[in-house]
């Protein structure tokens, strides 16, 4: 891991209304890897994602994207570098699904890439399993369907960095696995995938790296088996757990002690 990070935070502090939400966070995500952000509610996962995407300014420290500072870049330049899936999947007006996904192509309007718009939109609809909804309007969909449409829009942006804030939250079992398989396949193609997850088992199974946050600070970062120890999880979440290696894959399984 000596390559420069695709997405990096250095001594990052973030404040909102005088409250410090992130304290001296050092973080690095690398191309070709899925990096999961985990931590209890209020740990600062979404805040870190917002700061890394350029939505929140750094109070001190800096964010670097593609080995250059993020601050000062135009929204359009950023939109060609990174795509962000937020937890808000609403669309205010009854746009058809396909039009919403096509909005993901906006950063590439009037560029040579725009020629591929239709094919890319079709592909994004297909991989997120919403092709059959293409002509429905977004407000008429269920929460899980809306989440997949939002993901399709983000994928249609075709950026080397993907930031996904709880992409599995509204989804059923199969679609949760689908979304993370998709994240993996993007990483295999060389993209940098940052994903906020609540389900520790999903994080253990699909992430190459995990960063555990608590109270706006990094508690641990590294490979799943290093980060997800029973003592640490119990200390951070306040819930006793057992961590067992999966009998066939060896992936850590986190089981609450009930």
């Amino acid at each position: 891991m000596t390559r420069p990070a695709a997405l990096e935070a250095r001594s990052l502090c973030v404040e909102i209304d005088g409250a410090r939400l992130l304290h001296d966070v050092d973080f690095a995500a690398h191309a070709g890897r899925v990096h999961a952000l985990i931590g209890p509610n209020g740990a600062g996962k979404s805040t870190l994602l917002a700061a890394l995407s350029g939505d929140l300014p750094a109070a001190s420290g800096e964010v670097r994207l593609g080995d250059a500072p993020l601050a000062g870049r135009s929204p359009k330049a950023l939109a060609r570098e990174r795509a962000v899936l937020t937890q808000d999947h609403r669309v205010s007006f009854p746009f058809p699904v396909r039009e919403v996904v096509a909005m993901g192509r906006h950063p590439w309007a009037r560029s040579p890439e725009a020629e591929l718009d239709d094919a890319i939109v079709d592909d994004a609809l297909a991989v997120t399993d919403v092709s059959h909804l293409a002509h429905r309007t977004v407000p008429s969909l269920s929460g899980g369907e809306r989440a997949r449409v939002a993901l399709a829009r983000v994928l249609a942006q075709r950026t080397p960095v993907l930031m996904l804030d709880e992409p599995t939250a509204a989804l059923d079992l199969k679609h949760q696995e689908d979304v993370l398989r998709l994240a993996r396949s993007h990483a295999q193609r060389g993209d940098t995938v940052l994903v906020v997850l609540h389900d520790l088992n999903l994080a253990a199974a699909y992430a190459d790296d995990i960063t555990l946050l608590r109270g706006g600070r990094v508690v641990a970062t590294g490979a799943p088996a290093e980060v997800l120890t029973a003592e640490r999880i119990e200390a951070v979440y306040g819930q006793a757990v057992e961590v067992l290696p999966h009998p066939s894959t060896g992936v850590p399984l986190v089981l609450p002690i009930r």
Binding site: F93, P94, S131, G144, E145, A170, D172
Partner: protein
């Protein structure tokens, strides 16, 4: 709430898939394009017919043929003599400027409503509902009562414009939270501003002499009575430029329906678009209010009906709203001056009588959809 509610629906979705993909994609697109063309053509034709009929209707009835002949005479394209005595004078001095004003103001208010709904990402935003119109009327009333009008004809319009712009900014910055405007916040902001402007207008009415009082009542009720070419000449460039500006923003406005963060993530300079839109709304609304007073709900009803007909994509929606707003106000003005013989109803009163219940219906529907006061 949706997290639990959606379980199982994806299965249903998969079962529906073959049916949808066979029937919807080819026909869906064609019908939308056809629908847009039909709507644009229908509205444009309706507008021409309504303009000719409106111009011919009044105490001096002039048949459509004669209206048309008079237009040709006025443009120097015909020498046919008048068949109705005084037709030319009535048409060119009174009726035509009034028709032109109704068309301009209707288009301006409907486009302003569409733009406002887009940047607030909320279909209930409307210049009258959120108080921009009352703010502008307050500016105009101040100019009347404090005698600033001595400085020139356009001072009243200018005061309406400045006050309207300030009100728009005030509403925008006080009613947003997390990049969106929730229905409740927006409506409560509107109530507060309308209440304050109402009180201030009452105070000005109390201060003013009887002449100013009559003028203030005119602003509050709205009327196209006494429209002059001079006024049309001032409004036309302002409204034309602002509508063009709105059309140029069309695609960007679509992205605001993802919320401000979503728009920014797609490369939109959110702050710049927001300020531009606010200025456009202020120019449109204030041009209208400055010359015709408060005419409410046009900006709410028209975009909504047009959205139901051709969907929410903003560029076609703005064109349809401009045409539809012009047609609606032309018809409303015709009704205002013909419903009661020998008298003029205030047009703002008419649009509110129709718009109020419509707004209520929209409110109930919005509440039902979002499962509460979303």
């Amino acid at each position: 709430m949706t997290r639990t509610a959606e379980a199982g629906t994806s299965d249903a979705g998969t079962n529906r898939a073959p049916l949808d993909s066979v029937t919807a994609p080819p026909s869906g697109r064609v019908t939308l394009r056809t629908r847009r063309t039909l709507l644009f053509t229908g509205l444009a034709l309706g507008l021409v017919v309504a303009a000719v009929v409106a111009a011919g209707t009044g105490q001096l009835a002039i048949p459509p043929g004669e209206v048309w002949a008079s237009i040709l005479r006025g443009l120097g394209l015909s020498n046919a003599p008048e068949t109705v005595p005084n037709a030319d004078s009535a048409l060119w001095n009174i009726r035509f400027p009034r028709v032109a004003m109704a068309v301009l103001i209707g288009a301006a208010l409907a486009v302003a409503g569409t733009v406002m709904q887009a940047i607030f990402a909320n279909p209930l935003a409307e210049p009258g509902v959120v108080g921009v119109s009352s703010g502008a009327a307050l500016g105009a009333a101040s100019a009347i009562v404090f005698g600033w009008t001595a400085a020139g004809d356009l001072v009243t319009a200018g005061a309406a414009f400045v006050a309207g712009l300030l009100t728009t900014l005030l509403v925008y910055f006080t009613s947003r939270a997390g990049g969106r405007t929730e229905v409740v916040t927006l409506l409560l902001t509107g109530i507060a501003i309308n209440a304050f402007a109402g009180g201030a207008l009452a105070f000005l009415t109390f201060l003013g002499d009887s002449g100013s009082r009559e003028e203030i009542v005119f602003w509050q009720l709205g009327s196209l009575n006494g429209a002059r070419w001079q006024e049309v000449a001032v409004m036309l460039p302002l409204i034309a430029v602002a509508i063009t500006g709105a059309l140029l923003l069309g695609r960007t406005l679509d992205l605001f329906s993802l919320g401000e963060r979503g728009a920014r993530h797609l490369g939109v300079r959110v702050e710049a678009v927001r300020i531009t839109s606010i200025v456009l709304v202020a120019v449109l609304v204030c041009s209208a209010v400055a010359f015709a007073g408060i005419i409410g709900f046009v900006g709410l009803i028209v975009p909504h009906l047009m959205r139901m007909a051709i969907g929410p994509a903003h560029r076609p929606l703005l064109i349809a709203s401009a045409l539809g707003g012009a047609l609606l106000l032309l018809l409303a003005d015709l009704a205002a001056r013909t419903l009661v013989p020998m008298a003029e109803l205030p047009i703002g009163m008419l649009t509110s009588l129709i718009g109020g219940p419509f707004f209520f219906w929209l409110l109930l529907r919005t509440r039902r959809r979002s499962g509460g006061w979303g």
